[in-house]
């Protein structure tokens, strides 16, 4: 690919502006993983069916394999790597460890970002609301009972922090 066919875009990833030359067909997940060094976003299906690559784009949970990087120019992207601050885990991550939310862990970054989005909109979700919010995130280890416990526990922790 001729470098001239690339377009320079600017993404704010976890608070830092990154300028990246991208080809028109590159997905956001590819760019985050290969060009930004954020391999936390996992790619398991490449077709928006599993949610493993979920990140927040301007605060909204989106599977990063389903959007083109070139269309995200100027947007604010938050990945799982941006959650812990100064070595302190985010309450959702703490809850994940307490409740054994990760088995193999491949779905965890996506699940955690979906949870962050859910709790930003609904700080005290019911069980049915949790299940519905996570409905697009597959856990092939079938660890849903623990994951739902983790979301409940994270919501409680975050409410107590406010």
């Amino acid at each position: 690919m001729n470098e001239n066919q690339k377009k320079l875009i600017h993404l704010t990833v976890n608070g830092e502006v990154q300028s990246i030359a991208v080809e028109a067909h590159w997905t956001l997940s590819k760019v985050l993983r290969n060009d930004c060094g954020h391999t936390g976003a996992k790619e398991a299906c490449g077709e928006g069916a599993c949610g493993a690559c979920t990140v927040l784009i301007n605060g909204v949970a989106v599977p990063a394999c389903m959007v083109l990087a070139v269309e995200q120019d100027g947007k604010d992207i938050e990945t799982v790597e941006g959650l812990a601050k100064d070595g302190e885990l985010h309450p959702i991550q703490e809850a994940w460890l307490e409740e054994y939310g990760a088995q193999c862990g491949f779905c965890s970054p996506g699940m955690i970002m979906t949870t962050k989005y859910l709790l930003s909109k609904n700080p005290d979700p019911t069980d049915d609301e949790i299940k519905e919010a996570l409905g697009g995130n597959l856990c092939i280890c079938n660890n849903y009972e623990h994951i739902i416990n983790a979301v409940r526990s994270a919501a409680k922790k975050m409410r107590e922090q406010v």
Partner: protein, 789 residues
């Protein structure tokens, strides 16, 4: 035993922090400078030979480094193709776009052959052969008759190769039976073995060594096999696999077998060795979907009972689909569900005939249970029919006949032993616990009493699964290091594919050493830094690695206590270890720090670490009854599962699916991990209720569901699982009394599901998946439109 401080606690996952922060490096997260990308051209035909292949244009495409075919890389590619998706060629290029463009430039001329697209077609007289010169249907190679039973132990002393597996006199058994129940044509659909992380690898040559970054179920096993497949010394390969994004058996790599879906290793390995550049070879989800299928089976079951319900005789005929080759191992695990293991308490006469069947569908791989779920489906639906015919409670007929502690296992693995003593059972406790949770006694009703459009049903099935196999080749090793700063490290190669081995093995070290769990580190990164561990399969990690870890920790502790004893001028037996150092057991105020015990150190000398080491050449001495080598204990996974659901008799739709999964694990080393393992029952719900089947276009062999939209897995919204962890102490085969826990949850679901649908509607469905259509056909509300075979 003193009160446990680490074992039995739901401590945090040892490498959990990395998993929740995104720092954990799965193979695809190793993005190396100058890394080349691979794309594989796959067969569009289910059976064909390549007549010619022209790569000229592809090779001339700018950015292409290598085009691989059967002509220049016969180790990786074949001239004959056996399924849609089989490997034709590969392009290695500067990036994946170039590789994909070049792939389209490869010209291939095929000679089409006639495929067989189902097991039924494959075993028909005159069917085309999938592999030329090889019968599509083959007997399991190790059938054997057990005889010469020891009157005291019940163990069989003689094993004679035969046409089938078993013991006793099957004809006599049925002649003397009061009730005979027979089911023919039971079918468990061919289903895709699940994995969150698709297959793939990255190969990197550093001038002396090939580093293979990939997922793994057993780094050392897979490494040796890869080295042989590449034709290089094993010492030249370092297999790197710190994290694996689930596997469930299917991703266990065996690159020497051309029919097993681990081709990425050979493709990337050969390309990397020749190009001397890092080569990435990832499978897309679509490629993953044609790799590693499982479960597909047909079975006939016949069971003989005495009037009172005592099971005396069982006959199982089992056919297992292996697709275009694939793993032949799983089929014989169907024997686990028979009178050889699961019903060995009363069964006097057993016959089991196991066959595997090649088709031009996608190659098979093992998957959680390795044949046992298929056997359990056949046997446990038949047991339900027997209970119905004899007017018995489905729970009671199982309690009466299931294996108990001390009964005989003669069906597990005649490859390595004749028969063994079941070290613990607890199935009856699991049946009781599940029944109590569902208030079975008061709420179970015969299907004839159900009325209304929506009908509730409850079904039960028991299961027995492996737990590794004692014998040659099933060894694992461990090193435990203790440092002068009071921390310790477990060095071992046990794979954590999500089942929690990294965590529970560190708990064992903490418990033995007397150190807090947080002080235990883990070295489990690659083959160069770890001693051998057998692959985690048959749920053997807790047991086979467990002993190695335990004994290595005992060894390390002994050495440190000796150092401290010399420093303190006492005998080692008087000492204990704690977080702050070594102390007198009788007077904890007296003691020394680890640094003091280790003595003076400079960077030129002194003791910097103490290493304990152990090789568990299974069986561990504790796995022998009274230390007798011919009386081997075999731990098992075992328990009972209940399914409750509602059936809409107008639409055939299922709702309110609830799984109650009870398993005796002896000792739950980490209760939350164990509960998580029981929740993997959902894979059965995938196969039962989500329509999962290997649906191919019969005209061209193409998979109709090559993605996760059309081939579904349960989500948080589809069902609930209620795990019941039973801990019956006393299993001698583990240092803390734990038995295996992992694959059991996959075994009973389809049978319990069929039984629940019967209980709700009176409709018996013996073919999976349980679709609304099959329920409505059973209810007589619609006609079966399928062509009769």
């Amino acid at each position: 035993m003193a009160e446990l401080t680490s074992v039995g606690k739901s401590v945090r996952q040892k490498d959990g922090r990395a998993r929740v922060t995104g720092e954990a490096k799965y193979y695809a997260d190793f993005i190396l400078p100058g890394m080349l990308q691979t794309r594989i051209l796959r067969s569009p035909l289910p059976a064909a030979d390549i007549i010619s292949i022209d790569t000229t244009e592809a090779e001339a495409h700018p950015g292409v480094r290598l085009v691989m075919t059967h002509e220049n890389y016969p180790k990786a590619f074949r001239k004959s193709l056996y399924y849609v998706g089989d490997l034709v060629a590969a392009v290695v290029a500067d990036d994946e776009t170039i590789a994909e463009e070049a792939m389209a430039l490869i010209k291939v001329e095929y000679d089409k052959k006639k495929p067989v697209m189902s097991m039924e077609d494959a075993i028909k007289e005159g069917a085309p052969q999938v592999f030329e010169g090889v019968d599509n249907e083959q007997d399991w190679a190790f059938h054997a008759i057990m005889s010469d039973r020891d009157p005291e132990t019940g163990l069989f002393k003689t094993k004679t190769p035969a046409e089938y597996n078993g013991f006793g006199d099957i004809e006599k058994g049925f002649a003397e039976a009061d009730v005979i129940v027979e089911q023919k044509g039971l079918k468990y659909a061919y289903c895709k073995g699940p994995a969150m992380e698709p297959r793939g690898c990255t190969a990197d040559f550093d001038g002396t060594k090939l580093h293979m970054y990939t997922h793994s179920q057993g780094m050392h096993d897979e490494k040796l096999c890869l080295a042989q497949a590449l034709g290089i010394p094993s010492s030249m390969v370092n297999y790197v696999s710190p994290f694996t994004g689930s596997s469930f058996g299917g991703k266990n790599a065996f690159p020497l077998d051309r029919n097993i879906a681990s081709h990425y290793l050979v493709v990337a390995g050969l390309a990397c060795l020749d190009l001397k550049k890092p080569v990435h070879c990832p499978y897309s989800r679509e490629e993953e979907m044609v790799s590693g299928w499982s479960r597909g089976s047909m079975a006939n079951v016949k069971i003989g009972f005495k009037k009172d319900g005592t099971l005396t005789t069982m006959d199982l005929a089992h056919w297992q689909e292996t697709g275009a080759g694939g793993d032949k191992y799983p089929a014989k695990n169907a024997m686990l569900a028979t009178g050889s293991v699961m019903y060995s308490h009363n069964c006097q006469h057993q016959r089991g005939k196991i066959r595997y069947v090649n088709t031009n569908r996608f190659p098979a791989a093992g998957w959680q249970g390795y044949g046992a779920p298929e056997g359990v489906f056949a046997v446990e639906t038949t047991m339900d029919i027997a209970a119905e015919q004899m007017g018995m409670d489905p729970v009671e007929i199982r309690k009466m006949n299931c294996m108990r502690t001390g009964d005989i296992d003669s069906g597990w693995d005649p490859l390595v032993y004749k028969s063994a003593l079941i070290s613990s059972s607890g199935i009856r406790d699991c049946l009781d616990a599940g029944a109590e949770r569902l208030d079975w006694k008061n709420t179970w009703q015969h299907p004839s009493k159900k009325t209304g459009r929506i009908r509730h049903g409850m079904g039960v099935a028991i299961f027995a699964m492996g737990a590794g196999r004692p014998g040659p080749g099933n060894s694992s090793e461990a090193m435990v290091k203790i440092y002068p700063d009071g921390s310790a490290a477990l060095v071992c190669a046990v794979a954590d594919i999500g089942q929690g081995q990294h965590t529970v093995q560190c708990q064992i070290v903490a418990e033995v050493l007397g150190l807090p769990y947080k002080k235990i580190g883990l070295v489990c990164h690659d083959t160069d830094s770890t001693p051998f561990a057998t692959l985690v399969a048959n749920s053997c990690g807790t047991w086979i690695q467990g002993w190695a870890t335990y004994e290595a920790a005992v060894d390390a502790k002994r050495q440190v206590l000796k150092l401290a004893a010399a420093h303190l001028g006492v005998v080692a037996e008087e000492l204990s270890i704690g977080e702050d150092g070594i102390f007198m057991t009788a007077d904890p105020s007296k003691g020394c720090t680890f640094a003091e015990a280790f003595g003076v150190r400079g960077h030129y000398g002194g003791i910097h670490e103490v290493t304990g080491y152990y090789v568990n050449n299974s069986p561990h001495p504790n796995g022998l009854k009274d230390g007798k080598e011919d009386q081997v204990y075999i731990p098992k996974e075992k328990g009972a599962q209940f399914i409750s659901l509602d059936v809409d008799t107008e639409t055939g739709m299922l709702s309110n699916i609830r799984v109650t999964m009870a398993q005796n694990v002896g000792k739950a080393l980490n209760p939350k991990i164990v509960e998580g393992q029981l929740c993997t029952s959902r894979h059965g719900v995938d196969n039962a209720a989500l329509g999962n089947d290997c649906i191919v276009d019969k005209r061209n062999g193409w998979l109709m569901t090559p993605n996760w939209v059309d081939y579904r897995h349960t989500t948080s919204m589809d069902c609930d699982v209620d795990p019941i962890v039973i801990e019956k102490p006393g299993d001698p085969t583990h240092p803390f009394g734990a038995t295996a826990c992992g694959e059991g949850a996959a075994c009973p679901t389809l049978a319990a599901f069929s039984n629940a649908i019967f209980n709700a509607t009176g409709v018996r469905i013996i073919e999976t998946p349980f679709t609304p259509e099959s329920i409505l056909i059973g209810l007589g509300k619609i006609q079966d439109k399928r062509r009769k075979k």
